[in-house]
């Protein structure tokens, strides 16, 4: 094993390829787990069982679903803008894979050590917005278009307070590298202990719900209004890619929060990689809990909440953090 790893390490190009393959497959595999957990948690909350038939406790259900989606016919609606229709799901997926690239799972377990990782993540996550607009526009479906427009309005609005709350952490740790931020926390204690970061974490949590389109912010794919929103016309693997991107993004956004606020891999006794996953899945559980409880908001209410409440509060919070924490 050691020898094989060493062999790959000796050739930088090969090593990059290995990392890319592992990362892309991890991004594809994570949704399977997250979707299964989501279904079980939803079942638990809604006093039903969730999947039980395929495999022990239904664990292979999502695998079976993914296989089914792979084998389905790839339908392109008549009148669709083919180029955009084809590439939109890939852009959505690639944007998530790119964000995973700079995410440290444990000391040294990071595909690309980048000193502006935080900035990079915020940048690539915006590709997601582009892909949703492309999908909504190119589908030649009015529901899709409405879903796409809603998604863009919502994601752009919530991106602002999200970035502002992430900046609070940057102010505190003096680093834009995720590894740097986590190492700072290993030495000085978790960021969440500081009041401004606490406020930032709450704002981040709300924005994260909006970023991954979950109730009460699941407007872009509001089933009861827009059938399925921007991905209405997608089928087969293209639909699966959208779905995978959404759930992988769900995983990423919590892992990002763990790195920013909860010390990343930091924790006693258990190995660092386990701590990362524990923190991520606890947060994912909270997301699911929220998702299956309240109704959804209306688009004007969502935007008003973002611009009239979250943006001013996060701006004030950033100033507060600068006043308190600048070194």
């Amino acid at each position: 094993m050691e020898a094989i790893v060493q062999f790959f390490r000796d050739y930088p190009l090969l090593w990059t390829l290995v990392k890319a393959v592992v990362l892309a497959n991890f991004t594809l595999a994570i949704p399977l787990a997250v979707i299964y957990i989501e279904r079980k948690v939803a079942g638990f909350i809604q006093s039903r069982l969730g999947p039980v038939h395929v495999g022990p406790q239904g664990t292979f259900q999502t695998v079976a679903d993914a296989l089914k989606l792979l084998l389905k016919e790839d339908i392109v609606p008549a009148g669709a803008d083919k180029r955009f229709f084809y590439i939109a799901p890939y852009i959505a997926f690639v944007s998530v894979v790119l964000s995973f690239m700079v995410l440290p799972f444990a000391p040294g377990w990071v595909a690309l050590e980048m000193n502006v990782a935080v900035l990079f993540v915020i940048g690539v996550s915006l590709f997601n917005v582009v892909s949703i607009l492309m999908a909504g526009w190119s589908s030649n479906n009015k529901y899709s278009l409405l879903g796409g427009l809603r998604a863009v309005a919502q994601l752009l609005s919530y991106e602002v307070p999200m970035v502002l709350s992430v900046l609070v952490v940057v102010v505190y740790t003096g680093s834009m590298s995720l590894t740097g931020i986590i190492e700072y926390q290993v030495q000085h204690g978790w960021n969440i202990m500081h009041p401004p970061v606490m406020i930032a974490a709450i704002i981040y949590f709300v924005c994260a719900l909006a970023e991954i389109n979950r109730t009460p912010f699941d407007l872009p794919e509001a089933e009861s209004e827009l059938v399925s929103g921007f991905n209405t016309e997608y089928s087969g693997m293209r639909f699966a890619l959208f779905f995978a991107a959404e759930f992988a993004n769900n995983f990423f956004i919590t892992a990002f929060a763990a790195a920013l606020f909860f010390g990343g891999w930091d924790g006693p006794i258990l190995p660092p990689i386990v701590w990362t996953f524990v923190k991520v899945f606890v947060m994912i559980f909270v997301f699911m809990w929220v998702r299956w409880t309240p109704p959804r908001l209306r688009i004007d209410q969502i935007l008003r909440f973002a611009w009239q409440f979250l943006v001013p509060v996060s701006l004030a919070n950033l100033l507060f953090a600068v006043a308190l924490g600048v070194r």
């Binding site: 006093s47 039903r48 509001a222 009861s224």
Partner: protein, 366 residues
């Protein structure tokens, strides 16, 4: 160059997750704003009124199950009352009590469907499963009594076909006890939810005058400040012997319609308890001739179905078949006000408003 701005015309339904059946709405949108709405109905038209003219009176009862399929018993009762009035048939007291008991169970089941689908319409999917869990309990009770879960066909001209099964009263009381607690659970999940309130309060306001002008009835009218409930204004069966309140709210918005229905379920529980306490023994069915020929005349009956005032009109010429049947379906009348409610609303409000009218397309299209 002048930029021409046209509204986007969007077709909601007949296949759409939240049109509650085969309703089709042609919406003209300006962004997210609804400029105009034109409902298109008729996808479920079966010509029931005409079909009823071709059959003997009592053979028409199963048809009524297919009108408002969420409250089949109310329809059964309405047509039976109409035929009873036409033929001057007396109904034994015990049968009247049984009818009221089943009607109120049916009302709870129907309002639970409203509650569940309304929750899903607004994105609270969990509410759907909670409501249907309790509806299942009501359906189990009704199944034990009538043998069916959706199309009961249980009320007969001159009473009900059979007495209540052994120990039915205790089971109903058990359900009442459980359901009271579950109602509090619904309140915690939805009624007290800030998001739910912000989605429903002040949305789809139906002023009192408009409700009167359009002839709205049932929870629609009562949420707009009209204290009109057939069970009170023209009591049938034994509704004059039980004590219950008719919830009336003034706001006329989606929120008020939701609250009215929630309170109606609580009042139904009260009625059920009183009916079970007071129910006398005795026969449940009046003996009628094999060939039932009411004297020539015209009869009109109305009941308070979960959706509003449900009426049947039948004309007899003395033969075994009715000459003319007319059904006043509450959903049809209530739906007619929808375009007015949707003026200036958002797309997201559409499902909230439509859900709050609680239409059943089987009844609208007949």
């Amino acid at each position: 160059m002048e930029i021409l701005s046209q509204g986007m015309v969007i077709n909601v339904g007949p296949q759409h997750p939240s049109t509650h059946g085969v309703l089709r709405l042609i919406l003209t949108l300006d962004g997210e704003q609804i400029v105009a709405c034109e409902p298109v109905i008729g996808y479920l038209h079966r010509g029931l009124e005409k079909m009823m003219e071709r059959r003997p009176y009592r053979h028409n009862i199963p048809f009524t199950d297919r009108l408002d399929y969420l409250a089949a018993l109310s329809n059964n009762l309405a047509i039976c009352q109409c035929i009873e009035r036409l033929g001057g048939v007396e109904v034994p007291e015990r049968a009247q009590y049984i009818r009221v008991l089943l009607m109120e169970l049916q009302r709870i089941a129907s309002h639970l469907v409203f509650l569940g689908t309304f929750g899903t319409d607004l994105g609270a999917t969990t509410m759907f499963l909670y409501a249907f869990r309790e509806r299942e309990m009501v359906l189990d009770l009704l199944e034990e009594c009538t043998g069916a879960r959706l199309t009961y066909n249980w009320v007969r001209v001159g009473g009900v076909p059979d007495d209540l099964p052994e120990g039915f009263g205790e089971k109903v009381l058990d359900f009442v006890k459980v359901f009271r607690q579950r109602m509090d659970e619904y309140d915690r999940l939805l009624t007290r939810n800030r998001i739910f309130r912000s989605r429903t309060q002040g949305i789809g306001v139906l002023p009192k005058e408009m409700a009167l002008a359009y002839g709205c009835s049932g929870p629609m009218a009562r949420a707009s400040g009209i204290a009109y409930d057939i069970r009170k204004v023209a009591p049938y069966e034994v509704y004059d012997r039980v004590e219950f309140d008719v919830p009336v709210l003034e706001d006329g918005d989606v929120w008020a319609r939701y609250l009215v229905r929630m309170e109606e379920m609580r009042q139904s529980l009260r009625i059920i308890e009183q009916v079970l306490r007071d129910m006398p023994d005795g026969a449940v069915q009046t003996k009628l001739p094999k060939v039932f020929k009411p004297p020539a005349g015209i009869a009109y009956s109305r009941v308070e179905s979960p959706r509003g005032e449900l009426s049947f009109m039948m004309v007899s010429d003395g033969s075994s078949n009715p000459v003319r049947v007319h059904i006043r379906a509450p959903s049809f009348v209530n739906l007619s006000v929808l375009p007015r409610l949707l003026e200036g609303a958002k797309v997201a409000d559409l499902v909230a408003i439509l859900g709050s009218i609680d239409v059943v397309l089987g009844e609208i299209d007949r």
